[in-house]
Amino acid sequence: MAIDVAARAGAGGVRRPRRRAVRLSAGDRVAIAVMVVVPLLVVGGLIWFPTVASILLSFTNWDGIGGVTTAHWIGAENYRQIATIYPPFWPAVKHNLIWLGFLTFVATPFGLFLAYQLDKRIRGTRLYQSIFFLPVVLSFAIIGFIVQLVYSPTQGLVNNIIGDPARGGHVIDWLGDPSLNLWAVLVLVGWRHAGYIMVLYLAGLKALDPSLREAAAIDGAGEWHAFRTVVFPALRPINIVIVVVTVIEALRAFDIVYIVNRGRNGLELLSVLVTDNIIGEASRIGYGSAIAVILIVISIVPIVVFVWNSFQERQT
């Protein structure tokens, strides 16, 4: 930063022999002040203040009526209730974890696989790329509507293709059976996520120095071996981005289940529980804040791992 400032001062038409970076003109000082203070206010006001406020509110029973002064401090009562008597909570945690596991172990590897194959300049690769990337253009809200068209028990595509006799005269309740509907939704989530990962990874592969692969081939490495020992490690920066994207996608999942059945009956997610409790009439602000804080804590784990990882990398 100091070097940048010095360079700027030198190039900025200040008629003065370049001495040391600390000696700045008044204009520069103002510029720096603005550059520091404005982002600070934005970050403080839009990120830190709401976060701290949520944490504080999570220890109250505020119902959103009559100013914050009417809130009563009730300690960890909200947390106790959430963990003990709130039936959707543990399913929501479980579903978020399943979501994360599915994206990490199924959808993301599949995206990598697609990218790796399409990078080989097979015929029609552009066409395939477009097809796989298409769902990424759709918002999850739209995909939520698609889910319903595909899976509706009586009018949906899947059950009608399977046909009545094959189902023994019964419908398969893809959307209403809590042991099925999460997986039905995840299939379409994976459909979108794989395309997204494919594009990211494809960009990385295109930037990869081809001589690396040639060298591996000359040394007699097989396809899988070359990928595992040469290509994959060389794409470490992209890999980190992909891990972060995957974790974020899993934790912020919301729209699709909210459209399908408002995130109930097998589709509970933490984000939905926060919304259910806070938005609407007679809101349970304190209670919803407590769930939000739990979500923050869960989100912090991968963030810490990520930050830790990138610092480690810089030091080496």
Binding site: G66, Q155, R264
Partner: protein, 445 residues
Amino acid sequence: MADARPPSSDPAEAGRSLLTRRRLLVTGAAGAAAAYGATASGAAGRGLSSSLLRALTAGTVTFGSNASDPVPKKAYANVFKAFTKKTGIKVAVNTVDHNTFQEQINSYLQGRPQDVFTWFAGYRMQFFAQKGLLTPIDDVWATLKPQFSPAFQNASKGLDGHFYFVPIYNYPWAVFYRRSVFQEKGYTVPKTWDQFIALCKKMKADGLTPIAFTDKDGWPAMGTFDILNMRINGYQFHIDLMGGRKSWDSPQVKAVFDQWRELLPYYSDGALGLTWQEGAQQLLNKQAGMYLLGSFVGQQFQGADLADLDFFNYPSINPKWGQDSIDAPIDGFLMSRKAKNVKEAKALLRFLGSAQAENIYLKSDPNDVAANKRADTSGYNALQKKAAKLIGSVKHIAQYLDRDTRPDFASTVMIPALQQFLNHPDDVNGLVKNIQRQKKAIFGA
């Protein structure tokens, strides 16, 4: 996040918005143009001197409306035109999207609300009265009292016994069926639970789904809970239970779920994955025999099918109560605590409760039943007439579970609980205990 919200969980709204969307397509731009023209010419065509005089002496009243769909919006416009003509008081309307209005009601009432605004009867209204966000309007009701049945009067009072609410219309929940199916198969309308179950068995043997049942959206199952509870334990117990004054793990509530379990074999396959519209289609296509729903189910029927649609009051279970209560949610108006034009607002409320206002409203939006007993019913269609008769004949009118209890309890506790029951109907003990624990936490707060 919130921008992706689907239509509200409230059956009234879900029904209304769909209905009006269809009507919009039918009437098209012509209707909108006509409404606009009518407003413009109405203002210009009146006797100038007298209206000018009144305008100078009379003030303005502000009105917050959730009637964002074209049909009710136009209906209200016509009502206000008549009001201005009668009193000279102008109405400044602020229309907000229906669901947004509902979701923001908290901040709306605490911010700068309009003098008069649209809302619903029941605990959902009493809650805000209790929080001191509404103005009591006992003086308005001094004139309105003789025009409303006791059921409507009670529905308009807060928990403190004062009047807060002016009703305009409602619609009943009942068991809908197709007359032709009943005639063809020789079914008769059941009066008692035993007859009801016998009819279900017969329909099943005939290859029909006896009862269309759909609960993907969470709220339709509440209708069954309400009616069973009122049939088994009576209206007063139901209202006390909804108000948090009775225990959920009591034998009475368990009895409701036990009774409900008897119906499950006769429900639609995959009920938890179906919307109410899909249930209506089952009834329409003669795949299902009966359907417990609000009268907005008629929106899925047209022409000859609509004429074939009929309903009966839910059969009696406990002879002590017979068939004396139904769900019939009422829509109407409230006056905010912060109202600035008190005199004008009360004049408007008095007018909105009058038979004249109801006639104008229902002429433009003929899908409900007037609340005022002096309203003109000659223009009703067959279903409306029957609905009015049913509402007039029962002793008690409940407002539907999500309007009779705290909204947070209804949406965060009851919807998941009822869906859990439908998935695991055998663990009633654990279910009601859990509801009771959550009820204590929410109502005790």
